[in-house]
């Protein structure tokens, strides 16, 4: 029987994506594992493989299509002997078409939201609309969204983002009255999202900036999926997480000396290219990992019912891209040497720039490092990268006058500011961690202890 190939969910949070490129054409025979298409998500471009064998009967979504909803049919797969006009019926997806890793979450979301069959009661196209409107089964803070089926359906038909509402039903469930009382204008304003999620009285959305500038005085750059993800994620993080900040100066003299020696000792290949070149940031990554192992209460994530204390030091590193930013993760950094960390960071940055990171390379983590030192930034603060609890913002190493034993001396000093989630890490805990980190940075050899 002809089956639909559906837009895959390549990450648990993916709601839609761009069908960047078809790697097969109509009539092609495919088997399990054949690359079908390149899908661009908010974070990366990924290859999409066939699960079943058959022949591509029809391509339903042309390449270059943006905003293709997860589980929307994108092509028809025919069995042997079937003709192309066999059954291109567009029905919602069975859970089996979702990559295994994402299955649990995606299936849970689907089970809650997808209408099992399009009902004529909904009116034309109503069922499909209801399905997409219900896509947001999680609140911006990642909590399960409780809403009555009727509330979901009305929200979908009115174009209201149900995740942005706060419920007045039993235990905060969103009910019909909440949707009917919601103003369509407030539907996706992040401020309103945060206010309602935090149980606030509601914050007026910011007006559309276009209203404030004369037409033609600006160029309009539509959001790509990464921009949307950055906006959504960072707004949630900054408004929902109680941030506080700790700043410390680190003397880099010893680290710079060690680094110079190590780099000089790097074996060279026949083109005289050294096998590694350690950066200051590599040392900071390693020092962070070691400090996290000493302070497991910082290497932790908040949930409503418990704090998750991570066993490994998975350290993220913010990578600036021309089109946004992403924070890939060096997993188990505590068990990796400087060279290994250095090479891994370079490889992750390369993949990020090519949009080839897999979700498994940037999701999770216990801590992050953001370094703007190369731009000469002296000090800054970062927004926490959930589900992590802390991030350090690393400034430039620069020669500064310091006072040693009552005398002014010159030293290379770097300022580090940590943003911490106060729900997980209290001030004293954060300060002790930063003290250890400073010690490891100032005396790299102490990491060997």
């Amino acid at each position: 029987m002809a089956t639909n190939i559906l837009m895959p969910a390549l990450s648990p949070t993916m709601e839609e994506g761009k069908l960047a490129k078809w790697l097969v054409k109509e009539g092609d025979t495919v088997k399990s594992g054949t690359l079908l298409a390149e899908i661009e998500t908010d974070k990366a471009t990924m290859e999409f493989e066939a699960v079943d064998e058959g022949r591509i009967g029809k391509i339903l979504v042309p390449e270059g299509s943006e905003g293709v909803k997860v589980n929307a049919p994108i092509a028809v797969l025919l069995e042997e002997g079937e003709s192309a006009d066999a059954v291109p019926a567009a029905t919602p997806a069975p859970a089996a078409d979702i990559p295994a890793a994402m299955k649990d979450i995606a299936a849970a979301v689907k089970a809650e939201t997808a209408p099992p069959f399009p009902s004529p009661l909904v009116g034309e196209g109503g069922a499909a609309k209801a399905a997409t409107g219900e896509g947001a089964a999680l609140k911006p803070d990642g909590k399960r969204l409780f809403a009555s089926p009727l509330a979901r359906r009305i929200a979908a038909s009115k174009g209201i983002d149900i995740a942005a509402l706060s419920g007045t039903g039993p235990r905060g469930r969103i009910v019909k009255a909440d949707v009917e009382n919601a103003k369509p204008g407030t539907k996706t304003a992040p401020a309103a999202v945060a206010a309602s999620a935090a149980g606030g009285v509601g914050v007026a959305p910011l007006p559309d900036a276009r209203l404030l500038y004369p037409a033609g005085s600006y160029e309009e750059i539509p959001h790509d999926s990464m921009r949307k993800a950055i906006a959504k994620r960072l707004t949630s993080a900054k408004t929902l997480i109680p941030h506080y900040y700790l700043t410390v100066d680190c003397n880099l003299d010893a680290l710079m000396a060690v680094r110079e020696k190590m780099n000089a000792a790097a074996p060279k290949d026949k083109d005289k290219k050294p096998a590694y070149k350690l950066s200051v940031n590599d040392f900071i990554m390693k020092a962070s990992a070691m400090a996290l192992m000493k302070h497991p209460d910082v290497n932790a994530s908040w949930t409503d019912t418990a704090i998750l204390r991570h066993k490994d030091a998975d350290v993220g590193v913010a990578v600036a891209l021309d089109f946004g930013l992403i924070t890939p993760i060096v997993f188990k950094a505590q068990s990796k040497g400087l060279v290994e960390i250095s090479n891994e960071v370079k490889e992750l940055a390369k993949l990020a720039k090519e949009k080839k990171l897999k979700p498994s390379q940037y999701e999770g983590g216990g801590f992050s490092v953001s370094n703007l030192g190369m731009y000469g930034i002296k000090n800054f603060t970062s927004i926490i990268n959930p589900p992590q609890s802390c991030i350090i913002a690393v400034g430039a190493g620069e020669e500064r006058a310091i006072v040693v034993n009552g005398k002014i001396e010159i030293a290379t000093v770097m300022t580090v500011t940590m943003s911490a989630d106060h729900r997980v890490v209290d001030g004293g805990t954060g300060a002790k961690f930063l003290q250890t980190l400073k010690q490891f940075i100032e005396e790299p050899a102490s990491m060997l202890l």
Partner: protein
């Protein structure tokens, strides 16, 4: 020194005693003032004893159908005194049960009549003696009684209210029932099934006037077939009492009059709230047409005084009073997230034969709201269990908002529908749409399958018709 309570509930009916239990559960020191028996009208003179009576009439009805089920018996008869005795025993058992619940929850039961006597104070009179009871919160739950009209007053002998109708000293050969709401129709059904000649007079143009028109019409047909005489659009203008009968003058809408002579008359023309002798006026509590004016959480506007149940108005149903009792108890205890009662989700049941049950808007009322609706219907004749039970007459009807799939109302007539309606009430309360109901698996073979079919029918997708 008078006793001091956190909450004193005035009236031990279903609203009052449930409120008291919930208060006690929430750790409040609670008392109930009751002038008669715990359980109120519902347990002693309403819902419960009439269900016992109707069970007897149902069995009587089935006895006449023994042949149909392959059995035979001769010379079976009923003894009205024994039927009434059983009904009273059922009431007593349950009333005693409520008294036990009061003990279990350490709720003081204060016999007597209570009256508001200033802030946080009630004076309770019992056998001419008056004492004070202090309460931080007072919940008025005094209920209601039968309405009477000039010229249509009960005398307890020939002209009855529900109270006398429930304990007939002898079985009347003929009856006139004034009013075709739930109370009137249940008595009409009971007496007719046991063989009395019954005439029902209804001022409106149909019987069970609050029900969906189609259900009313279905009921009227069934009652007429059973031999009941239905006089709609008709009023009773005069009652002339004889020695052991009453001659009633009926006046139809067109002005025609007719005299009907019957053994007894049952007045069931609605109810009035028990607002008297409570000290409401002095306390500054507003009363509108015999009902206390209360907010959506039972607030009377006077600090520390609350009101629930029949006393505050329609729908006059025990389960509505119970729910209000819980709401008020939780409000008093400061429970967070208490929701007001939504009358659109209060089911109504009439235990006549065939039974009638409904929730939400009738088809006509739904249309009046101006929205597009879809109506689904399924008859009992298409249901396996109904046929097997020998109950092929009945109808289930659903009313949906065509756009949102919201279940606006559900209306049922037929065997056991009073037990079925809760399914739709859950759907309404949980805000399920036609889609969730359509995808719910109903057990086979049950009468409940018709509820499923009536949902599918709204979509033109009923399977067994």
């Amino acid at each position: 020194m008078a006793d001091q309570y956190d909450v004193v509930v005035v009236g031990g009916g279903p609203g009052g005693y449930v409120c008291a239990i919930r208060c006690a559960q929430l750790g409040l020191k609670t008392a109930v003032v009751e002038r008669e028996r715990m359980g109120g009208i519902c347990l002693n003179w309403g819902c419960i004893p009439t269900k016992a009576l109707l069970r007897s009439s149902e069995i009587w009805h089935l006895l006449h159908r023994l042949n149909e089920f392959g059995m035979s018996a001769e010379n079976f008869k009923f003894d009205i005194a024994k039927i009434v005795a059983r009904s009273r025993a059922v009431s007593k058992q349950l009333s005693d049960g409520v008294s036990f619940l009061m003990k279990k929850h350490k709720i003081a039961v204060i016999p007597g009549e209570a009256r508001l006597a200033g802030k946080g104070k009630l004076s309770v009179t019992k056998d001419g003696k008056t004492s004070d009871v202090l309460a931080k919160n007072i919940v008025l739950a005094t209920g209601a009684r039968a309405r009477t009209l000039p010229g249509l007053e009960p005398d307890g002998k020939l002209v009855w209210t529900y109270r006398e109708a429930m304990v007939p000293p002898s079985f009347p050969k003929s009856l006139l029932v004034v009013g075709s709401g739930a109370i009137g129709i249940e008595f009409a059904s009971f007496y007719r099934t046991l063989g009395a000649e019954v005439t029902v007079v209804e001022v409106l143009d149909r019987v069970l006037p609050v029900e969906d028109e189609e259900i009313s019409a279905f009921a009227a047909k069934a009652f007429t077939k059973q031999g009941m005489r239905l006089k709609t659009g008709t009023t009773v203008t005069a009652l002339k009492k004889g020695a052991d009968n009453v001659t009633c003058t009926l006046k139809a809408k067109d002005g025609k009059t007719e005299d009907v002579t019957v053994d007894r008359v049952i007045l069931a023309m609605g109810i009035v709230g028990n607002v008297e002798n409570l000290g409401l006026e002095a306390a500054g509590i507003k009363v509108d047409r015999t009902h206390v004016v209360a907010g959506k959480y039972g607030e009377t506007g006077v600090d520390g005084v609350w009101a629930i149940g029949d006393l505050v108005g329609a729908p006059w149903l025990a389960h509505k009073a119970m729910h209000e009792g819980v709401i008020v108890a939780e409000k008093i205890a400061g429970v967070k997230g208490v929701h007001p009662l939504n009358t659109a989700n209060v089911p109504g049941c009439t235990y006549c034969w065939p039974q009638v049950a409904s929730v939400g808007l009738t088809e006509a009322k739904a249309k009046e709201t101006g929205r597009k609706i879809r109506v689904g219907k399924f008859p009992f004749i298409g249901n396996g269990k109904a046929i097997a039970l020998g109950e092929p007459e009945g109808l289930i009807k659903t009313v949906f908002d065509a756009q949102t799939g919201e279940l606006l109302g559900a209306h049922m007539i037929g065997a056991e529908v009073t037990e079925l309606i809760q399914g739709y009430v859950i759907a309404k309360t949980g805000e399920l749409t036609d889609q969730e109901l359509a995808h719910t698996i109903f057990p086979h073979p049950t009468l409940s399958e018709m509820m499923h079919e009536a949902v599918l029918a709204a979509d033109g997708a009923a399977l067994h018709i």
